[in-house]
């Protein structure tokens, strides 16, 4: 039983480099979003979920957005918990499912992703409709659980959402190519420590 679980974990989490990149994506998602808190809808969970799906695959497609949001949503709950348990659970459902969907869609384009300009361009291009779809989805949740009970119509909600979607698009257009290029490079070539085996074993100036 334990052996089977271990084999499943190995298969699901991938090799050491995949695991490091997966954890790194979770850290990027959490830290980036916390640091950018003063800029509404500027966040790094979206790019982390997209890259997790398209570069790492396996369990990371779900694990990266869910782990990052476990931290970020608990912070949101402390700030906005006054809306009530049902509303917060509903909102969290829309947010988590939205980012998981981003990861799954990233997984769909995975076979075409290599360290090339066209791959970064592809990720950036799909991030635009995906950001709009994500915002529509979460705006639906916010309308249903928070603003609809206050008598606000769907039209008014969408009108209010528009500038925030522009901010979110700006965020995606900056972070997807930026982190996409960096992670595609790391995914394709690893990092210097990987080649430790062929590095000189002692300083060059010594006999």
């Amino acid at each position: 039983m334990a052996g089977r679980l271990r084999r499943a974990a190995v298969a699901g989490l991938g090799d050491a480099r995949t695991r490091i990149l997966g954890v790194f994506l979770i850290v990027v998602a959490v830290l980036g979003t916390v640091v950018l808190r003063a800029f509404a809808n500027f966040e790094t969970v979206f790019v982390a979920a997209l890259l997790a799906g398209s570069l790492l695959g396996r369990w990371w497609t779900i694990l990266v957005p869910v782990a990052a949001l476990a931290v970020l949503q608990s912070l949101d709950w402390t700030t906005y918990g006054g809306y009530g348990l049902q509303a917060m659970i509903g909102l969290s459902f829309f947010i988590v499912s939205g980012y998981v969907f981003v990861g799954i869609l990233g997984r769909r384009v995975r076979p075409r992703i290599m360290f090339r300009v066209s791959s970064v361009a592809l990720l950036t291009t799909i991030s635009v409709p995906l950001t709009i779809a994500y915002d529509l989805w979460t705006a639906s949740g916010e309308w249903y659980f928070i603003t609809r009970p206050l008598g606000i119509t769907w039209d008014l909600m969408l009108k209010g959402q528009l500038p925030f979607t522009l901010y979110h698009l700006l965020s995606s257009l900056i972070f997807v190519p930026l982190f996409g290029t960096a992670f595609l490079f790391l995914h394709a070539y690893g990092w210097p420590a990987r080649f430790r085996g062929i590095a000189p074993s002692r300083p060059m100036d010594r006999p």
Binding site: R37, A38, F39, A40, F42, T79, Y80, G81, G82, Y83, G84, R116, V117, S118, V120, A121, T124, L150, G151, I152, P163, L166, Y167, L169, L170, L173, I174, P177
Partner: protein, 146 residues
Amino acid sequence: MAPRLTERTQAVLFAAVLMTAIAGLYGTTILLQPAPVRVHAVGSVRLDVEGAGWSIRYAPDATNNNTVFGLLLEASAKFGFTVAYLTYQIPQGVFVTAINGSMNGEGGRYWQYWVNGAYGTVAADHAALHDDDVVLWSFAASVEGL
């Protein structure tokens, strides 16, 4: 068949398109920012703060703090109560999170403001005051007036 572009050409083209898109979106977000309030003296304004089981009234003869948020900060300095807030850069504005120890979310209530009975629709530091305005900060559960 069109010749295939080199990686370098693709990178330059992609960067040009991306920069144009980012510049356009950034320009739009800047245009959407609320205009800053110009500082000028206002007279006979009044501030009422209604918390959970307590209230504060402040009515200076004149003040240069001619925004809803500025008047609240002036009152907090005068009477020694605390005001906690978050400052957002995009969209620009402050979000008041607590006044005099009453924090947003307690009992499902949040700090909201009204000017002359009209519900505040912009960030408090972008809501300009005029002579004889009456500002109410209320720790309320519902968004009345919308």
